[in-house]
Symmetry: C2
Subunit: 345 residues, 2 copies
């Protein structure tokens, strides 16, 4: 059934019926504003991200449900990067009136389910007609007063760390571009591959389609006071490290052989003729946390007792030079690249 058959009011009612009544909000969907009661002794964190069809995603490779999860996940990652606790979301959707209602159902189911995993309720939003499918989430989180971890606190001499492993999302994108598809949880590959490569491709695509926001890890770092600066790796380690350094007024050197390359990413990258290190450095959407710290490695490791790894990749340096990556032979390359929405492709 087309969206135009039930109209804007009908669609709002339908979305309201998909989403459970929020328990945390003073006021949810159905009024001029949503309302939330801030917890005492907290600062409010606010972030917003748009996903645009043909730019940030294509419906050829992602289901509406996964798209909903991703739209929520990328915003959750921004809250994680401040060390915050996410609380509530507004969702905006601009789409063709000829679009299917079932698409909207699945999208909001994904938004809702990803939110619920991290304690987030959808309490408002907006709908509009548009010839370009556009999904936006605004996320509100909180952090103890004055304890938000910004991008601007890195100091020369500190160590640079990254959570998890990098390159999987970019490898997943490469696999999708080569014609691989994820249907339910099965990967479809249009050519002969080994069972291990099939599994690697599945993992990489899953990672591209469904980022894992590092909320718990970000909060643990903020609560311990361990991170002097933090950013999520959304546009590639290279670009995001440059951003962090720019805001902190420092530079950095990272070591190529320390960068934690995802194994699935490496396998997929090699199969499709990409350089695994380049994917880890310049591929976007890993949504791991990149942070700096004056703490000793053993103390950092103690904050991450469970499945997520954390790796020391380099050192913060004084301003006055470019950020760079050092190869094993001692040669260095200036860090550039990463994803630019308006750059020439």
């Amino acid at each position: 059934m087309k969206v135009s058959t039930i109209g804007e009011c009908g669609l709002i009612e339908r979305i309201r019926s998909i989403l459970p009544q929020p328990r945390d909000a003073v006021l949810g969907i159905g009024d001029d504003c949503a309302a939330l009661r801030p917890a005492a002794g907290t600062d409010l964190l606010l972030t917003t991200d748009l996903l645009v069809e043909g730019v940030d995603f294509t419906l050829q490779t992602i289901t509406p449900y996964r798209l909903g999860r991703k739209a929520m996940g990328v915003n959750l990652s921004d809250i994680a990067a401040m060390g915050g606790l996410p609380r509530a979301a507004l969702a905006v959707l601009a789409m063709s009136p000829d679009g299917e209602i079932e698409f909207v159902d699945e999208l909001y189911r994904g938004l809702h389910e990803e939110g619920v995993r991290f304690g987030v309720e959808i309490i408002g939003g907006d709908l509009s007609a548009s010839s370009t499918l556009t999904i936006g989430v605004t996320l509100v989180g909180e952090v103890k007063t004055g304890r938000a971890v910004t991008r601007s606190g890195a100091k020369p001499g500190e160590r640079i760390w990254v959570t998890g492993r990098l390159g999987a999302a970019a490898a997943g994108l490469a696999a999708l571009k080569a014609g691989c598809r994820l249907r339910d949880d099965q990967v479809e590959i249009p050519f002969e591959v080994s069972e291990s490569l099939r599994e690697a491709a599945r993992q990489a695509i899953e990672r591209h389609l469904c980022p894992i926001p590092r909320i718990r890890e970000g909060r643990a770092l903020a609560e311990a006071g361990a991170a002097s600066a933090m950013i999520d790796v959304s546009d590639g380690l290279a670009l995001d490290l440059v951003r962090l350094c720019r805001e902190s007024g420092v530079s950095a050197t990272i070591k190529a052989d320390r960068i934690p390359i995802d194994q699935a990413a490496a396998a997929v990258a090699q199969r499709f003729g990409h350089d695994p290190l380049a994917m880890a450095l310049q591929g976007g959407e890993d949504f791991e946390l990149l942070f700096t710290s004056s703490w000793e490695p053993a103390d950092i490791a103690a904050i991450f007792p469970d499945v997520v790894t954390v790796t020391e990749v380099g050192e913060v340096q004084h301003a006055g030079q470019e950020c760079r990556v050092e190869r094993q032979d001692g040669s260095t390359v200036t860090l550039t690249g990463g994803y630019d929405h308006f750059g020439r492709r």
Copy 2:
């Protein structure tokens, strides 16, 4: 100069340089999240609105500066409708990489200037490429704990009031559709008209392009505890009254001869063959406040001592009948209509 020549990072830096450093925010543009310290004893209000080219506006009739002001203004109106004080905004922009940087400059100048009028600073946002120009604002406001005026508090027997005068925005839209244009503050009309009609058209177009959010009036009503329910008239008095009544579980009758029709709107409507009453009832984007109250008229009037008028237009009634408008001859018409983004046109 095209946006693609400076890229996403360049554009963010340029926008940062247009906007002054926020004084109220803990953290502004340039980090993963913006941060704000909530005032003690307040609830947080959150609202978001998208404006999509070809649906909500056309650049044939609105300058980028005015578009920025409007995108901020429509969100301010939602805060006004809860009786809130607006504080900070996130702005999202999706546009073609071939778009002009000067367009972005002017858009953000408008967003900023309209915000400043009401104490709002732009503290974050997002940029994306898109083939459809889309502007979104998320606004954060605050209201004393538990004092937000919702749509759901109207009770049978209460009076229904509306601020200001209605129909001007719809008349302005009709004038634009007939080929009239506003350049700077001069109106261009492609046919012979009287000086008074020219001035009426200018006022109506101005009202369509630049809504006046009723922040002061909404706050005064909330602080006095005068309004039992409130909504802003964004999609026409008829539809917004129906919405308020649905959320309150009541119905309503309003009197046709009490509806405060804007004089400029009436003149323009008649010139272009429209019914002024229909414009006042079904024309959207007036952004006046519609509210219900058990207070006596003299006490309501005392809250509005200055230039904004307030008019009693009808009475809240028990559920079980449709909302309706009563003509002078005693006949009634069921209220329907107003703007629907996904409806058949």
